[in-house]
Amino acid sequence: MMLRKKDLLGLKDLTKEEIEDILDNTAAMKEAFVSGETLDSLKGKCVATLFYENSTRTKNSFETAARFLGARTLSISVATSSVQKGESLIDTGRTLDALMTDIIVIRHSMAGTPALLAKNVRSSVINGGDGMNEHPTQSLLDLFTMREKFGTIKGLKVVMVGDIKHSRVARSNLWALGKLGAETTVVAPQTLLPKGVEELGCEVSYDLESAVAGANVVMGLRIQLERQKAGLFPSISEYGDEFGITRDKLVACPDALIMHPGPVNRGIEITSEITDGANSVINEQVTNGVAVRMAVMDMLMSDAV
């Protein structure tokens, strides 16, 4: 299986078929990963992680996935690299090209940065999260997890609650879930909703309790504490009361799958009871993340041959 693209920048540019191909390939990769069987489809290749923002799970997930496919990995820590000496993103990318890198996984606080890098380097670029734009592999692992549980994405009712405005996970999921035929609802105070979000094909609600009626999946998003300082909501306590995922608010969907991209602010956006409850797949999401990243890298590289 292959992806007829040099880069994976986001899900808004992928077709339904391309997304489904990735999910199909993920199933095979997961089998290998959980059985501890290493593969060699990236043998002789080099995968660099270039993270301008902190991350534990995404970076480790990509590096684990790359090694499982037999690749060398190169980790550029921005804090100690020449970026601190003022090297531009494009120059850093070209340096990685010259080090014979095949894939650059980039995370950056600014939207569109992976696209800029991709335009200026020979290596394949995978977006590991760019500002408020996209986090395609996170969304793919979410989709894979849903498909594993329900058999199909089509017709699922998915509710996402939290800081939709600043969330790249929400955006990637809105694109992909729409393409695959799920019904999505976003729930947030109006200050944490981006303008025109309903034009992306989702329902909008300000009341979690009623929005989750009949939901198959309830996904919490991380709330960043600095949003309160920016005046977007009055207090963490009020946010938790109104938009936190609690047992009381899930009465209308007792069996819904509980997802969260992590890291979780326990007791704020989601209670510990729900995080650790029987319906929570938050830790499975992490395992599936490795499989999905194996699948994406495998497919980008088989295209390159």
Binding site: I90, H108, M110, A111, G112, L116, G131, N133, E134, K195
Partner: protein
């Protein structure tokens, strides 16, 4: 050297077919003139002969940012767009907030081999929005208006004093209106396209609150105020209502606010990162309506050159602005005249006569005795804009690759055929 422009159609307050003879820096005769009377003859059959354009809003970057543009390169780029006079904004380094810098820019303008260059001085010292700059001394040194362009004067008391004080010297105050608390760290128009691209939005309210404030101040003080680069439907409506009440408010827009929308940012094209940001089609339509009914007085370029490295970087970090000298007339012709919204004499009013009048510069008509700032424009030529072929230093052109109608064929400044 005398120049005869033969066989063209003269566009001024009306349209008439006639030859134009230029000698010694002046238009000496308009009528049926034999070729033998001039040393140089320009065949203008099928072409339009118009007063040179006047740009009341551009950035020439000198002193301080000569890697982006210089007064010389900017003034030469301007003539390829049909501009014979340009007024440059003071957000240089150092800023033009005193007579010495104003005099330097004027002098460098006189040395430049292109359009006439007139400096605009700051409203406040250091463009800090706190203390008034020495408007009187700067006027003696050649400034034609004051503006803190690029930055709004956020403090309403300072703006009030500026409007009153500038009246003393009959200086036009040009305000870049923007409530900085609302625009914050936004980089594109707030709307569905910002949401799609994941870029931080700037609400229309940022621009409109500033305009509303300025209108109230101008009305209260019976002072003039000129609003820079109007970009939203709400702004047009605020100014329309104020003019109807007799408030002394004038305004300008730029070609990109009636020809381009924020869809341009979906590809993270940093040349589409402009302040105020490109808006939506309904705003473009409202701007065109404002041009048609006289709410909008002037089309200016907001020519904002930057180096390639500065623009080829993260969208959030790239500077705002597109170059505009060499595309403005073709864009205005394509989107306003060829599309049937306005006629050519109205365009001359918007791009030459009114800006000249607002800045106190000579208003050029194509008739005997006038200063010979004249251009020849071919309305039938079509062109594909190629950023790499532009004459200015900055190649950051939003319109790269666009097909436009109409092309400037010749520009004459003070009787000199510049090209």
């Amino acid at each position: 050297m005398s120049i005869l422009i033969k066989g063209g159609k003269i566009i001024d307050s009306g349209e008439v077919k006639a030859d134009v003879l230029i000698d010694n820096g002046r238009i000496v005769r308009v009528g049926d003139i034999p070729e033998s009377e001039a040393t140089t003859v320009i065949n203008a059959a099928g072409k339009l002969v118009m007063p040179g354009l006047v740009d009341m809003h551009c950035h020439l970057r000198e002193p301080g940012f000569e890697h982006k543009e210089t007064i010389d390169t900017g003034s030469r780029a301007a003539i390829y767009g049909g501009y014979t006079s340009i007024a440059c904004m003071p957000n240089t380094n150092p800023v033009i907030d005193n007579a010495a810098i104003a005099r330097y820019v004027s002098m460098r303008g006189k040395e430049a081999d292109g359009a006439r260059v007139y400096p605009i001085g700051c409203i406040t010292k250091g463009q800090k929005g706190e203390e008034l700059a020495e408007m009187g001394k700067m006027k003696d040194a050649g400034i034609v208006a004051v503006s803190d362009d690029g930055k709004p004067v956020m403090n309403s008391r300072v703006m009030r004093n500026a409007l009153e004080y500038a009246k003393t010297f009959n200086l036009l105050v040009i305000d870049h209106t923007e409530d900085a608390n609302i625009s914050g760290d936004g980089v594109v128009n707030e709307g569905v396209n910002a949401t799609i691209a994941g870029l931080r939005g700037i609400s229309r309210a940022a621009e409109e609150i500033g305009i509303a404030r300025d209108i109230v101040l101008a009305e209260t003080l019976d002072a003039r105020v000129h609003i820079a680069h109007v970009s939203t439907a709400g702004s047009v409506e605020l100014i329309r209502e104020a003019k109807a009440r007799g408030v002394k408010v004038t305004c300008e827009t730029c070609p990109h606010y009636f020809s381009a929308t924020d869809e341009e940012i979906l590809s993270y094209n940093t040349n589409a990162k402009i302040n105020p940001p490109l808006r939506e089609q309904s705003d473009c339509d409202a701007v065109i309506e404002g041009i048609k009914d006289g709410t909008i007085d002037v089309i200016a370029t907001d020519h904002a050159p930057h180096s390639a490295d500065e623009k080829n970087r993260e969208f959030d970090l790239a500077p705002f602005g597109t170059v505009g000298f060499e595309t403005a007339l073709s864009l205005a012709y394509t989107y306003l005249v060829d599309s049937g919204e306005i006629d050519m004499p109205a365009l001359v009013e918007l791009m030459s006569h009114t800006p000249a009048r607002l800045l106190g510069l000579p208003v050029v008509h194509i008739k005997a005795g006038m200063m010979a700032d004249v251009i020849v424009f071919d309305p039938d030529a079509s062109r594909t804009v190629r950023a790499a072929e532009l004459h200015g230093k900055g190649k950051n052109c939003l319109f790269d690759g666009w097909m436009l109608k109409g092309r400037v064929e010749h520009t004459i400044v003070g009787g000199d055929l510049k090209f």
